[in-house]
Amino acid sequence: MRHIISILLENEAGALSRVAGLFSARAYNIETLTVAPTEDLSLSRLTIVTSGTDAVIEQITKQLNKLIDVIKVVDLSEAAHIERELMLIKVRATGKDREELKRLADIFRGHIIDVTESTYVIELTASGAKLDSFIQAIDSGLILETVRTGTCGIGRGERILKV
């Protein structure tokens, strides 16, 4: 099962490598990992998308909590939450493809943020699955480059992750 794990950790040198190292040392899977400081600059917020059985996810949560730099761990996917990922995708845009790609970007609520005679860069923010379907929807021969941030997420309503 896919899980989105949110972690508050000390914004210290090496804290990220402790988390990443834990996953590789214990053979846990990382699909995506994003990290940045929060409004409190002494804290970083890290989001990991992983998958595993309930027992594995329980161990991941416990092992993360054991890291000295980790302050809080929450499995966002346990309850109502929102997830988003940003993708920049550079496509070959010539001839009739230009119109088609523009239409497709509109359908997916994307923006074209760079235009040349032969290329577009499209910016898209959505769930990871939605980004996958956008990639599916366009002719793979037109894709020149994709770059994705990985998933970040937040609980809905009063569900708040704070120190």
Binding site: E10, K66, I68
Partner: protein
């Protein structure tokens, strides 16, 4: 407040932590610290001959007491040599603080002489580590290091200090206590869970207590013994937990696991309620977890580390907390309710256990002309009156020491159970001997293991440590040979130890007493000579033992606990 250099601050912090011994080896990056060490006489420095032994000795000191061991090494090779020692302490949750020198801040990342990424290299085998890049953070970081190493589930903490930080000056202020928002180990167990556990224990028809190294580390042996006696239940102690319950008591079933007794393993397998205390159901204890789970039983698990619970075996009643506190609470609840387990069911269960015990699985055939290794341990037990601190290396001798020396008290048996590090025996004995000058310290080893830290005979001479080394010399890497005999068609690939040194001469070359024993009738005499006549000397006794002796019982890797191979010649 006076201004102090970083090096002086390091030493002051160690003094504040009441550190008596530091095991270390000097080098470029720690020269300032060694200079500060030279100018005081409160902390004694023990100069080892290899940094691996510095950490092992600090670890041995910690295991034999409830103190934090301290090692001091230089940057680069000093730190990398220490890694085996750090990983060994980590696997067995031993509180050790390792201070390593680092190249100056502005050299870091330049591939400087004797530079390595110590924090990076040690990250997976420490409880936590620090790189202190500012002298103002030095005292508080060392305070944190001692606090983290010794609280919760203990473990090693590395503090890496660049050379310029040890030269820089600042005011010294040592915090009395430390608060960390990201680290708050659970102490008190949940009362509701403890009540549930007590209820389950009282309902049990076939109860079993299984305790591990956590009981020793938390000084929980005394309440564990009281609880076990109060309940009248059978108990087993793991390799790391030996001594938590008196080894000669009738309720003690011996050690469980790969080389555990028949009665301990079958009671683990067939019990209906299992109380696991400070133990982690590792592969050498329960064998195959699927096989273990194939019989229904309720499991209660007390551990200070939540991640140990339900890791390999599903637990019905988890109790996260400090072991002695939880056990005291259980005893209190039993006393308050004047509750007792079902006597009839317990009597039937004991009848079954006595039947298993009747197999006398630790019997072995004595030979007239050859020394049996088990016999040496039995005689060692007699001659030391069961009162020695026994350290071991890793292999057959380790298992025989665990099986045949009956430990009555905690912190008397020091060995590398988790990482299984050959070479720990002698440095462990050094740490234990310094910490316990009034107690006899014995290192049970083999001719393979002892050579992995043999250079420490020199350290032992310098500090006049009267360790007794029991070398069970069968000219084989015995445990490797045993597996090759059983599982590789007796193809003894690289397990024969050729060109061995003359250990008697070697001991003498280092200034110690060496004795060689080749006949069974000389075993006891040699031991008495070592422990009485040479009481104050380090004595290396080289016992030439049976080459074919194997450790039994044995549960082969990946098999279930009930699937034991018993000694073949009985």
């Amino acid at each position: 407040m006076t201004m102090m250099t970083g090096a002086e601050i390091v030493i002051r912090c160690l003094q504040e932590e009441k550190v008596e011994y530091v095991f270390g080896y000097p080098g470029g990056a720690v020269l300032h610290i060694y200079d500060a060490l030279f100018k005081q006489d409160q902390i004694k420095h023990v100069l080892v001959r290899h940094e691996q032994a510095a950490v092992h000795a600090a670890d041995g000191l910690a295991r034999s007491s409830n103190k934090v061991g301290v090692a001091l090494v230089t940057s680069g090779p000093g730190a990398t040599n220490a890694v085996t020692g750090i990983a060994t302490a980590y696997m067995d949750s031993v509180p050790v603080v390792i201070i390593s020198g680092q190249v100056p801040n502005d050299y870091i990342g330049q591939d400087a002489f004797q530079e390595c990424d110590t924090v990076g290299i040690t990250r997976p085998c420490v409880k936590h580590n620090f790189l202190v890049n500012d002298v103002h953070k030095l005292a508080v970081t060392l305070k944190k290091a001692f606090y983290i190493a010794s609280s919760g589930r203990p473990g090693p903490v590395v503090v890496d200090i660049p050379k310029d930080v040890t030269a820089a000056r600042c005011r010294f202020e040592y915090p009395g206590t430390i608060q960390m928002r990201s680290y708050n180990p659970v102490i008190k167990g949940h009362l509701g869970q403890i009540k549930k556990a007590v209820h389950l224990l009282l309902e049990a028809k076939r109860p079993m207590i299984y305790s591990g190294g956590g009981v020793i580390l938390s000084d929980g042996a005394e309440p564990l013994t009281r609880l076990t006696r109060r309940l009248g239940f059978p108990i087993t102690n793991t390799l790391m937990g030996l001594g938590a319950y008196p080894g000669t008591d009738s309720q003690f079933l011996g050690m469980p696991g790969m080389h555990g007794t028949v009665e301990a393993n079958l009671a683990m397998q067939h019990c209906d309620v299992l109380l696991a205390v400070g133990a982690r159901f590792d592969d050498r204890v329960i064998g195959n977890p699927d096989n273990f789970a194939s019989l229904p039983r309720k499991v209660i698990h007390i551990d200070v580390d939540p991640s140990s619970i339900s890791k390999r075996v599903r637990v019905d009643v988890p109790i996260v907390g400090n072991v002695p506190d939880v056990l005291e609470e259980m005893i209190r609840l039993l006393a308050a309710g004047n509750a007792h387990p079902d006597p009839e069911a317990l009597a039937d269960w004991w009848k079954q256990i006595e039947e298993w015990r009747g197999k006398q699985c630790l019997r072995y055939r004595h030979r007239k002309s050859v020394i049996m290794p088990q016999y040496v341990i039995e005689k060692l037990y007699e001659v030391t009156g069961g009162q020695a601190i026994v350290t071991s290396d890793v292999g057959q001798h380790q298992m025989w020491a665990a099986q045949y020396y009956k430990f009555e008290q905690p912190r008397r048996w020091l060995n590398s159970g988790g990482l299984g590090t050959m070479g720990v025996g002698l440095p462990y004995a050094m740490g234990a001997a310094l910490q316990n000058p009034d107690r006899q310290v014995v290192c049970v080893t083999g001719e393979g293991s002892i050579q992995m830290c043999i250079q420490e005979l020199s350290t032992a001479k310098q500090f006049r440590l009267p360790i007794k080394i029991i070398n069970l010399n069968n000219r084989y890497l015995g445990m490797v040979r045993q597996w090759q005999e059983m599982f590789y068609g007796s193809r003894y690939s690289e397990s024969y130890m050729d060109s061995l040194p003359d250990f008697v001469k070697l001991a003498e070359a280092y200034g110690h007493v060496g004795i060689r024993v080749e006949r069974p009738e000389d075993v006891e005499g040699a031991l008495r000579k070592a422990f009485v006549e040479h009481r104050d000397d380090l004595v290396f006794i080289d016992f030439i033992t049976d080459q074919k002796a194997n450790v039994f019982p044995m549960v082969a890797a990946g098999k279930g606990l009930a699937d034991m191979i018993l000694t073949e010649d009985l």
